[in-house]
């Protein structure tokens, strides 16, 4: 297509066109592969090969301390993982974390963005307050919040004491609420990303719609309900699914704040995987767990693609 276009632009006669066209195509093919090669090589080395290696080793007793794949294990690694109670508890903690974080991260981000978009002035201040934490290293976030959650002397417990609770529970040291502490930290840390996605979505809504609604006597709340929420539904789907995928991959906060503890009450899947690989030296078993997590994330991602496609088709039909 583009070769034809170029030839026609060059104004060549049909005969030379054919000859030049094929040489040009060959030259273009070579150039194309040269342009793709640098990215392609790294893509193969650090995306494709690791995936293949992960799948292969999940069927072997591969270890960190021995060279090679080790002995063939068949599906033993998968069988072990799927029958290990701590695998299921890690999966449950991952889901628990997703349940704790997703609703507030979507709803609050939506509210903040709609309000910030309405007030017009001072948006830089809200971006600073809500978005800056998102670009800070998780390790710095963890230091700040572990300090806030320090038993009895920390800001959190001091505040609880101020409110009259004289023996507040240590947040990160109590199995039943440690994950809540991690979720609060994550809410504070990552809401800015969703906030910014919603702000971007709001930019796409034509002002005239609101103006027309105002003319028709719609109150601000009616405008939000009838215009903003429906027109942001695609952004909401995006935010929701990105949030679920990100939550499934949670590692940093748990590793840094509780190390999976107390006990294994906050152990998540990536924590279990790295623990099995680097502490127990069992690459094969860790790979099996990685493959299982990988499958879960792929399913969510594919669901996201399908939902987006359906929404786009519906939007196209409505236009």
């Amino acid at each position: 297509m583009s070769a034809q276009l170029e030839a026609s632009v060059l104004g060549l006669t049909p005969r030379t066109d054919v000859g030049r066209g094929s040489r040009r195509t060959r030259g273009m093919t070579r150039a194309a592969w040269l342009f793709i090669a640098p990215f392609g090589i790294f893509y193969i080395l650090f995306m494709i090969w690791p995936v293949i290696y992960m799948i292969i080793t999940s069927f072997f007793n591969t270890s960190l301390v021995r060279k090679g794949f080790g002995s063939f294990a068949g599906v033993a690694n998968y069988h072990e993982m799927l029958t290990r109670p701590d695998f299921w508890s890690a999966l449950w903690h991952t889901i628990q974390f997703t349940i704790y974080t997703t609703p507030p991260l979507v709803i609050l981000a939506f509210v903040f963005a709609v309000l910030a978009n309405r007030v017009q002035h001072g948006q830089w201040f809200f971006r600073l307050a809500f978005f800056v934490p998102f670009i800070l290293p998780s390790a710095a976030i963890a230091l700040i919040w572990t300090f806030i959650f320090t038993p009895s002397t920390g800001l959190w417990n001091s505040f609880q004491a101020l409110l009259g609770d004289q023996n507040p529970l240590p947040v990160l040291g109590t199995p039943s609420i440690a994950m809540v502490g991690i979720a609060i930290t994550t809410l504070w840390w990552t809401i800015g990303f969703n906030f910014v996605l919603y702000l971007a979505g709001l930019q796409d809504i034509p002002r005239e719609l609101y103006e027309a609604a105002a003319v028709d006597g719609a109150t601000q709340w009616q405008q939000i309900r009838a215009i903003t929420i429906p027109l942001l539904s695609r952004t909401t789907t995006l935010v929701l699914l990105l949030q679920i995928i990100a939550s499934m991959k949670i590692f940093d906060q748990v590793y840094l704040m509780t190390g999976g503890g107390p006990g294994i009450s906050t152990q998540v899947l990536l924590g279990l995987i790295t623990g099995t690989a680097f502490t127990d030296n069992r690459i094969g078993a860790a790979s099996a767990a990685s493959v299982l997590l990988f499958i879960v994330i792929v399913i969510i991602t594919v669901a996201r693609q399908v939902i987006t496609m359906v929404q786009e088709r519906r939007a196209a039909r409505n236009d």
């Binding site: 583009s2 150039a31 290293p137 390790a139 103006e211 790295t274 997590l293 994330i297």
Partner: protein, 314 residues
């Protein structure tokens, strides 16, 4: 709440009047002024309520950072006692910062983070824009397959690949080098797709005239396509920079030499090694975060647009 709706209704009535007045008069396109008047009226309570809610939450959101800053400026002996004393003690001291900056560790972390992040950005942005250019502008056999193969990368979360990537780096003997942090982060599929979408929308005429002058693909890419793409390059470069700078899981497992540790890994070791020196710990988290805050203040727009446009979430 009732007051709000009440005022909304009265002003809505006014704006309806305004509309009627205008529809008698000029054309439908005319009345922007009337609408602004109407909106201001109906929204006043709403705007006030919005402001109050937003400011309350913004302040709530600022407290942890401000608390960390305040603690870092308090002496270790005071901060060890608890929240009350930290709040009351206003003899601010830079002692913690002096200790950290003179210890040398933090400078090693900064160096490691700068070297690895900048090299990753250069390779990642250079290579992904080249590949995107080929996929967007050239016709060749297998293009569709290459495209599908790269699209598949979106499905692969890099964190899940930590074990095989570690093994791979181990086999070639790259563990405990900066390359172990840089190389695995070079193939950034998201940047490739953002570039491709941008390139797809550059009019072909720009290239055609250059081609008439005898320019090759590389010349066209470098002197026409890349300069046109400066805003996307800036956005993607900054998003990649922030991502590599903040990456914890990869350097955590491939770097064990304290001299080579990046800031996130260094900070991860702080809590245990600093014991009760709470002010020093908070000062180190502030120092670790500082470069990114500065980056944000300089490149606000590119950062915000970059993250929003790429849909990239950690």
């Amino acid at each position: 709440m009732t007051e709000q709706t009440a005022s909304g209704q009265t002003t809505a009535g006014q704006s309806a009047d305004a509309r009627r007045k205008f529809s008698n008069g000029v054309s439908a396109a005319a009345p922007p002024q009337a609408i602004t008047v109407g909106k201001h009226g109906s929204g006043r309570t709403f705007v006030v309520v919005s402001w109050v809610i937003l400011i309350v939450f913004a302040v709530l959101w600022l407290i942890p950072s401000l608390w960390a800053i305040k603690t870092s400026l308090t002496s270790n002996s005071t901060s060890a006692i608890g929240a009350g004393p930290i709040l009351k003690d206003w003899h601010l001291t830079l002692g913690s910062y002096k200790t950290l900056l003179s210890s040398g560790d933090i400078w090693n972390w900064y160096l490691a983070s700068f070297v690895t992040s900048i090299l990753t950005v250069i390779f990642a942005i250079g290579f992904s824009s080249m590949a995107a250019y080929a996929l967007s502008r050239m016709n060749f056999r297998g293009r569709r397959w290459v495209f599908l193969l790269f699209i598949g990368g979106i499905l692969v979360p890099s964190q899940v690949l930590i074990v095989p990537v570690f093994q791979e780096l181990n086999v070639v003997g790259l563990l405990n080098t900066y390359w172990a942090v840089i190389l695995p982060q070079i193939p950034t599929v998201i940047a490739l797709f953002v570039f491709k979408q941008f390139f797809d929308n550059i009019p072909r005429d720009y290239e055609e005239s250059a081609r008439l002058d005898g320019a090759g693909y590389w010349r066209i890419f470098r002197s026409i396509v890349l300069p046109l793409s400066r805003p996307v390059i800036a956005a993607m470069a900054i998003v990649t920079f922030v991502g590599t700078w903040n990456n914890l899981i990869l350097p955590l497992f491939v770097l064990s030499n304290p001299k080579l540790m990046t800031i996130p890994v260094g900070l991860a070791t702080v809590q245990g090694s600093f014991g009760q020196r709470l002010s020093d710990i908070q000062a180190s988290s502030i120092l670790g975060a500082l470069p990114l805050v500065i980056l944000f203040l300089i490149f606000q727009r590119q950062i915000v647009e970059g993250f929003a446009g790429s849909g990239l979430k950690g």
